[in-house]
Each structure stands twice: as structure tokens, then as C-alpha cells.
């Protein structure tokens, strides 16, 4: 079973919920893998770490134009939908803007003169860590300066196929990195906070998940901090409210110290275990 933990707004508590869920599942001796899909800002290992089993480098292809063979016809430029190739036939100049290349292979297919070869460019890493006998962490980490983390996220998800329970800590937003992480999920837990920003972004996430036809429920973090509009909206839309985590400086402090709430407070250990069971119950057809 694959469960994605996501939210439109950043900083609502995705990593907080996923690391605590992971810890209770692990304590139950479940075969569990936590995948950190937030490749732009991977944070899971700030809280929990393990022995590194493997680190793979994720590459993309980059075209290299052979200027001996090139006739400057410009077809590769015309086929490149990302404007990554600049070709000036009068001056016999052709070059690539690396950052714009999406590795689609169109230039390669366009060239009739065998003037384009490919090399590899590093995008980031996928690291697998053993946390305990039955539990693993897999981290997607994009290199700084990389435009799109999507290929790194996809490669990371491919590594996580065999666990019985897979938790995916997803990137914020509603665009391509978020989609890449939630598409393989059987169920999505949306984490929000009871503020106008939280509600606004929750609505965007819900709209996206409805379009993808994914089952989902909501965890409200920092309950008591803002207002009640989120609860009214959830009720009106008949969206299941899975859990309310109160706003509490003690919890914030534990989080700030990179510790897990369920390991510090047995009441929350029980509550997160209950959350895990609720999610699994909602998953079954």
C-alpha cells in the first residue's frame, strides 16, 4: 500500500506527519519504507536516519552537437520545444542552453546528419538507508541549481517497490513535482493548518486530487491557531478529517530539535497509530 503525505502550502507539517507515521509503523514491526520525495528540500533525514546501503546518481541526457557533421539546417532547433538550441546558420554557430533542455530526445530524432550525440548530466541522488530490520528510508535529493526535480523523484519512487507499506513525503505545490509523487499513491493524506493560507491551498490540492481521482483525507495541524473555516469547508465537502494536532509550543519545540513526537509522548504514539489504522481502513475497497 502506498500512502502519499502532501499539501499545497509548504510548512504545514508533511514531514512531521510522515516521519511520525513511519516511527509508529516501524515499532509495530511493519515492513515499511519512507520515501522522501521532496527532492528540492529533503528533510526526512533531519529527523530519522539509518545506515546508507546505496547512493545512486541520477542523470539526464544532454545533446552534444558535432560541429564537423552539422550542416546548420536548424531542424533540431525547430523541433526543440524548450528553446534550448540556438542556431545561426549565417555564422555557422550552434549551441545548447543546458538548463532549458528537458531530455526529450527531439533534437536527436530531428537530426538527419548524425551530428548529435548525448552525454550525461547529473541531476541529483537517490539514497537508500536501512533504519531497522524491516524499515527503510529512501531519499530523493536534487542538486542545487537543477531546474526540475521530477526525474529524481521518479527514479526514487522506482526504488521503493517492494515494501508492504510505503509512505511518501511529497513536495509542496500542485505542479509537476507534486503530481509525480502522488500519481503512484493509493491514498493521499493532505496536511493543512486552520488559517486562510492553509485553507486556500488545501482547496487547490483537493481540486487536483479530484482531477486525478485519488482517495484522500485531511490532517489539520496547529489546530486552535487560526479560525474554524477549514472545518466548515471539510464538512460541507464531506471530506474526512483524519486527525487534529493542536497548536502546542511543546510540539513545536520537539519538532525544532529534530525529534519525533511519538517517541517523546506516548499519547501521540497512540494517536498516530490510530491515524495509520484509519488511513489503512480508508484504503480498502
Amino acid at each position: 500500500m502506498k500512502i502519499a503525505i502532501a499539501s499545497g502550502k509548504g510548512g504545514t507539517g508533511k514531514t512531521f506527519v510522515s516521519t511520525n507515521l513511519f516511527a509508529v509503523a516501524e515499532k509495530e514491526a511493519r515492513n515499511v519504507t519512507l520515501v522522501d520525495c521532496d527532492a528540492e528540500e529533503p528533510n526526512v533525514t533531519v529527523f530519522i536516519d539509518g545506515n546508507t546501503i546505496s547512493t545512486d546518481i541520477i542523470n539526464q541526457h544532454l545533446p552534444v552537437i558535432d560541429k564537423e557533421a552539422c550542416v546548420y539546417c536548424g531542424k533540431c532547433r525547430d523541433w526543440c520545444n524548450y528553446n534550448a538550441i540556438i542556431c545561426l546558420p549565417e555564422n555557422k554557430q550552434i549551441y545548447l542552453i543546458e538548463d532549458l533542455c528537458h531530455d526529450c530526445g527531439a533534437c536527436l530524432a530531428a537530426c538527419q546528419y548524425n551530428a548529435i550525440n548525448e552525454i550525461e548530466k547529473r541531476l541529483g541522488t537517490v539514497t537508500v538507508k536501512q533504519y531497522s530490520d524491516t524499515a527503510r528510508i529512501i531519499e530523493a535529493r536534487a542538486d542545487i541549481g537543477v531546474y526540475s526535480p521530477v526525474q529524481v523523484i521518479k527514479a526514487t519512487l522506482n526504488k521503493a517497490d517492494n515494501a508492504e507499506l510505503i509512505l511518501m513525503d511529497s513536495p509542496p505545490g500542485i505542479s509537476c513535482p507534486f503530481i509525480a509523487a502522488v500519481v503512484p499513491a493509493d491514498y493521499v493524506v493532505l496536511v493543512t493548518e486552520p488559517t486562510p493560507f492553509g485553507l486556500n491551498d488545501l482547496k487547490l490540492s483537493v481540486e487536483t486530487l479530484e482531477e486525478l481521482e485519488k482517495p484522500f483525507g485531511v490532517v489539520v495541524n496547529r489546530a486552535g491557531l487560526g479560525d474554524d473555516r477549514v472545518y466548515d469547508w471539510l464538512e460541507e465537502k464531506q471530506i474526512p478529517l483524519l486527525m487534529k494536532i493542536p497548536f502546542d509550543k511543546k510540539i513545536a519545540k520537539i519538532y525544532s530539535q529534530s525529534q519525533l513526537l511519538v517517541q517523546e509522548d506516548p499519547i501521540y504514539e497512540a494517536r498516530f497509530l490510530e491515524l495509520l489504522k484509519t488511513i489503512q481502513g480508508s484504503c480498502k475497497p
Partner: protein
Amino acid sequence: MQTINEISILSGKGGTGKTSIAAALATLEKNTVAADCDVDAANLYLILHPNDYRTEKYISGHKAVINYDLCTQCGLCKDHCRFNAIERKPDPDYAEGKISIVETSCDGCWLCSRICPVNAIDMVPSDKSNWFLGNYRYGKMVHARLAPGEENSGKLVSVVREQSRQTADECGAKNIIIDGPPGTGCAAIASLTGANKVVVVTEPTGTGLHDMKRILDLAGRFQVKRYVIINKSDLNTEIRDNICSWCEKEGIPVIGNLPFDPRMVHSMVACKSIQEWAPDSEISASIHKINELLTQS
């Protein structure tokens, strides 16, 4: 033409207070231009509630659509697609499965449509995203809404940036306040390029520190002055001190230490900036000082 001061507010980690601080900086002086570059999850409009007088469509890209009247099921498109966006979907009428587009995987590169021997693939524009220009109580605001699941948020950010520069030029505004997205990817990069100053809003948590370093590393690769604001700074004084000493070592000025104050949340609920809601608060006093620092040079 006078030079425009573009101040970009970023954080790496989400939820550290970018938008609250951007809203505060955008409600101090008349004739300011505010640009919301978090096009995925735009929130600044909730505080500034602009009166939009211009709405434009943004074509974020194209998606492949198969015309089954022409398709011969040859599979050449599937062999060429590097995004695994074409599959043979199980279908009672097709023994090998029916050639189909996986819309969420399609990158819109056009290759399939260009190589299809029978021209059976059309590229349909994704035009559900918009950008807006409006007036708010301190000036003009440019913002956008990316349709769910669409690509190229970085390109839309560039459109918002370009439009805000044009607007600032037209109305003689000195400062553009850019509310940036979380992360370090294309949208964050597009929010940085060409800005004069980057303000990284962080919080004293293990993850706040980790992500602050990544976004400052990114910003360091551009010609841009870097500053740090520590929000909710009393949450963990030990990590706050770590952040300060790390920034000192790197030569990055920490220009604000804002304590946790529930009035920050109350102001958001009331759709106001912090100094509009609580002008006498310590945070409001800090915001004035931060603004002086950012706008004087």
C-alpha cells in the same frame, strides 16, 4: 529611467513566513509593486486583495492527444517518448493493448506528434492558467494561478516578474516586493534571476536551517545580495544562535529576529498585514527597520 529595486523573499522550506513578511513589506509605502511568484499556491492576494483590472491567459504547454481515426497503432511514438507518457493500455479490441497517452506524464515536447507517420497526434494547448494585474491599497499587484498539475511554473514566474517590472516602470515605483515559492527548483530560480536582493526567511528548526543553507547556496550563484530573517526566533534559541553564527561566518547579514506572536496569525485571519493589524507590536517595529535596510541602498 530610474533603477527598480527588486526584493525577492524566499525560504527553501515552506511555511516559514514568506508571505506574511512580503505582505508587511508591501504595505509600508505607497506606489509599491507586489509580485506573487508562488504560482502553485498563491496566498499574497488573500492579504492584499487586489482589484484586478487585467486577466490574461497563460499557455503553460501542450498535451498530446491521439486521433484514433488516423492512428495505425504502429507504436513509433511509444518507442520515442522518454517520459513514459505513451503506453499500450489493455483494451478488449486490441490484443497488444491500445496506444494511449498518460496525460500526467506528458511533458509536451511535441516529439510524438512530429514523428507520427500518419499525423495522428495533435498537440492541444493547456490554457487553464492565468495571470492578473490589479490595484491594491499600496500600489499594484501582479499574481498568477497555475492550473492544477500543469508544467512550467518557472516560465509563469518569469511572466509575473516581467509584468511587474513593466508595471513598476509605468507607474514609477521604486520597489518590487516578490513573494517567492518554496524549494530550489525552476520557480525559485525564476524568482531569483535579475533580483537585486534576496531575503531568506527561516525558522530556528532543524529543517529550517537545512533548507536555508540550500536556498542561500542557490542564491549565491546569482549576482544578488543575500539577507536572512529568522521568524519565530524564540522557538529554539540554540538553533537561532546556530543560524546567526553560520550566517556571520558566510558574511550574510541577519536583518531581523522576529519572535513568535499569535497576532501574526490573527492578522492573516483578518486579511491584513502585521503592521496594519498590530502596529505597536515588536514585529511591526522590526519590519520598519528591515524595510529601511532593504530600500535605502
